[in-house]
């Protein structure tokens, strides 16, 4: 188990949070850059000393400002994968991986390093210099190096952000399978919610130095407790004024015009969120159906992402709908078209005041 609590000044705001990860589990901290995610890792690793804090790993206290305990980074037993991997350019790949190993002869350390490289499928690169490797290869070397000391905890700082989009998908799957075999707590930070959802057993959303909401990725996406979380998890966020409606629902008059219904309760100034894939579009006035929310909108953009199409819509406030390519073809949607955006009241979350 890894537990870290810290309170410290961090530029314009102060960092104040507590995180805990059980052995064999992964907590992914996700948030925008500058939110203090990396600082949490640096505090856990001993690279930053907080004003007040506590870091415990299993039975060992790594940091306890109250008791005056502050272990140096080299005395803590954690593997750290840095954002740009931080491989040492003057050492060969196997030397990078063998560097953390202290015991045994040079030959024994080399063969241990090569075993680790084998596990990541890059044994052939043992003699290479880091600057000749691709991004995906570097990431694997960095991971092998972080695991070389058999760490008691693994800290990953944006382990995939230095990779191009194509490599990232396969690297994410690989990393997930590596983590599955680990019996130590893993703390990961990323600015990408989708990445956090894929890699973390739990996700904590970090904003301005605090964990604003923590839970499983689907919980966060389904029940964001704030507009920030809703926005960060990829939802459309609209602002307006809520009042009670029939049967325990709420009616929200949107800023800029239009009204939507939500099955959530809300009153006064609120933000409502809805996911782009919950929104359908129809030409003209749609036929009768069960969806409560209809907003006339103009199509601003039509962008194909994989098998889906993201429509940028203007309806008083901007919103996005995600539909299939077939639907776009059948409706003949083009920028400038007038459509109606349709979605259910039950898919509309009221996420608190603005």
């Amino acid at each position: 188990m890894l537990r870290a609590e810290a309170r410290t000044r961090l530029g314009a705001f102060s960092l104040e949070l507590a995180v805990e990860v059980a052995a064999g589990r992964c907590l992914a901290l996700a948030g925008p850059s500058g939110a203090g995610k990396t600082t949490v890792l640096r505090i856990a690793a001993g690279l930053v000393r907080p004003d007040r804090g506590l870091v415990r790993c299993g039975e060992h206290a790594w940091l306890d400002t109250e008791r005056g305990i502050h272990l140096l980074p080299e005395q803590r037993w954690c593997g750290y994968v840095f954002q740009d991997y931080a491989l040492w350019p003057h050492l060969r790949v196997w030397q990078n991986v063998a560097y953390p190993m202290r015991e045994g002869s040079r030959r024994a350390r080399r063969s241990h390093a090569e075993e680790l490289l084998e596990r990541f499928g890059i044994r052939a690169l043992a003699e290479a210099r880091p600057d000749t490797l691709s991004g995906g290869e570097r990431q694997r070397v960095a991971l092998a190096r972080a695991l070389a000391r058999r760490p008691a905890a693994l800290l990953l700082d944006e382990p995939l952000s230095a990779l191009d989009a194509r490599t990232r998908a396969s690297a994410t799957r690989e990393l997930a399978s590596v983590m599955q075999d680990l019996e130590v707590p893993v703390l990961l930070v990323t600015h990408d919610f989708a990445e956090a959802a894929q890699l973390g057993d739990e996700v904590g959303i970090v904003d301005e130095g605090a964990v604003v909401q923590q839970g499983s990725a689907s919980e966060l996406a389904a029940q964001p407790r704030s507009a920030f979380v809703a926005d960060f998890t990829g939802a459309v966020v609209l602002t307006g004024t809520a009042r009670p409606g029939p049967d325990g629902s709420s009616l929200v008059d949107l800023d800029g015009g239009g009204r939507v219904t939500s099955t959530d309760r809300g009153d006064g100034r609120v933000a409502v969120s809805v996911y782009p894939w919950e929104i359908a579009v129809a030409r003209g006035a749609p036929a009768e159906d069960s969806a409560r929310n209809r907003l006339p909108a103009e199509v601003l953009s039509v962008t194909t992402i994989g098998g889906r199409v993201r429509l940028g819509l203007a309806a008083g406030q901007p919103l996005q709908a995600e539909v299939t390519t077939a639907a776009v073809r059948e409706l003949g949607l083009r920028p400038g078209d007038q459509v109606t955006a349709v979605w259910k009241a039950a898919a509309t979350r009221i996420v608190g005041g603005t």
Binding site: D84, P89, H90, P100
Partner: protein, 267 residues
């Protein structure tokens, strides 16, 4: 009518003039006398002693500079503290100090009647007019060249390399020796070469602080000065040696900056 471009011609002429002006005197050192006469002049006892003394004092000074300067530059490059900028400026001051002023300053500080000199004399240490004094003068004028370069080399290292070493279980000392120094090696070598070149050519501060006694404080530049009026061939011969060594140092600096330093791969 097409106007002829005059600017490309102008810059070509400017470069040619600079090249001739800078290389002609150096070529003249070798062309003024026969190679045989140059070698003969180097055989004289005074020349031999000067060459040996220069070798000894510059090696010693460079050793001191590297051993003290490397960790000092590391501290300046990796720590942020109050007064750091002031320290950097103070350390660089000898760079712009006229050598004669450096000699006087050393006399005032560690000369027989100087600030610290009295104490040193009491302890039996005589620097002025002694070989040790030459080493002090060389170290004083040459160390800023190394410090500045080393600080830049350490400053250019990715901080994450050092952090990665610490989280890999290495102490700060081990990180310094195994990661920082090897990764900064090209810059450190370049700094060492610059300091060596400056120490080798040192004249003014040595003359004022240590004097010019054959075999004790008379380094090659001082020996050249000593004989240029009476034994021009001898002065030329010693100068030729310094030209060759300086060229070798320049080459080393270029090579240390990596394969691109000379425009060719250094492998």
């Amino acid at each position: 009518m097409i106007r002829r471009a005059w600017f490309p011609g102008l810059i070509t002429v400017a470069l040619a003039a600079a090249l001739i002006f800078l290389t002609l005197p150096i070529a003249a050192v070798f062309l003024e006398t026969s190679p045989g006469a140059l070698v003969d002049s180097l055989g004289s006892q005074g020349a031999q002693e000067a060459l040996w003394l220069s070798l000894k004092t510059t090696t010693l000074a460079l050793t001191i500079i590297v051993l003290v300067g490397t960790p000092a530059a590391y501290l300046l490059a990796t720590r942020r503290f109050r007064g750091r900028a002031a320290i950097v400026t103070l350390i660089e001051l000898p760079l712009v100090l006229p050598p004669a002023v450096a000699g006087i300053a050393l006399l005032a500080a560690v000369g027989p009647a100087g600030l610290l000199g009295r104490g040193l004399a009491g302890a039996g240490v005589e620097l002025a007019l002694a070989t040790a004094g030459v080493v002090v003068a060389l170290t004083f004028v040459a160390s800023p060249f190394y410090l500045r370069q080393a600080q830049a080399a350490f400053g250019a290292l990715d901080r994450a390399w050092l952090d990665a070493s610490r989280t890999s279980g290495a102490s700060e000392a081990r990180t310094f020796l195994r990661i920082a120094v090897p990764a900064a090696a090209p810059g450190l070598l370049a700094g060492g070469a610059l300091a060596l070149g400056r120490a080798l050519g040192e004249f003014g501060a040595t003359l004022i602080f240590a004097g010019s006694f054959q075999g004790i404080t008379q380094t090659v530049p001082l020996a050249i000065y000593d004989r240029f009026a009476t034994d021009f061939d001898g002065a030329l011969a010693l100068s030729a040696v310094l030209v060759v060594v300086s060229a070798a140092i320049l080459l080393a600096v270029k090579l240390a900056r990596g394969p691109d330093g000379l425009g060719i791969a250094a492998r």
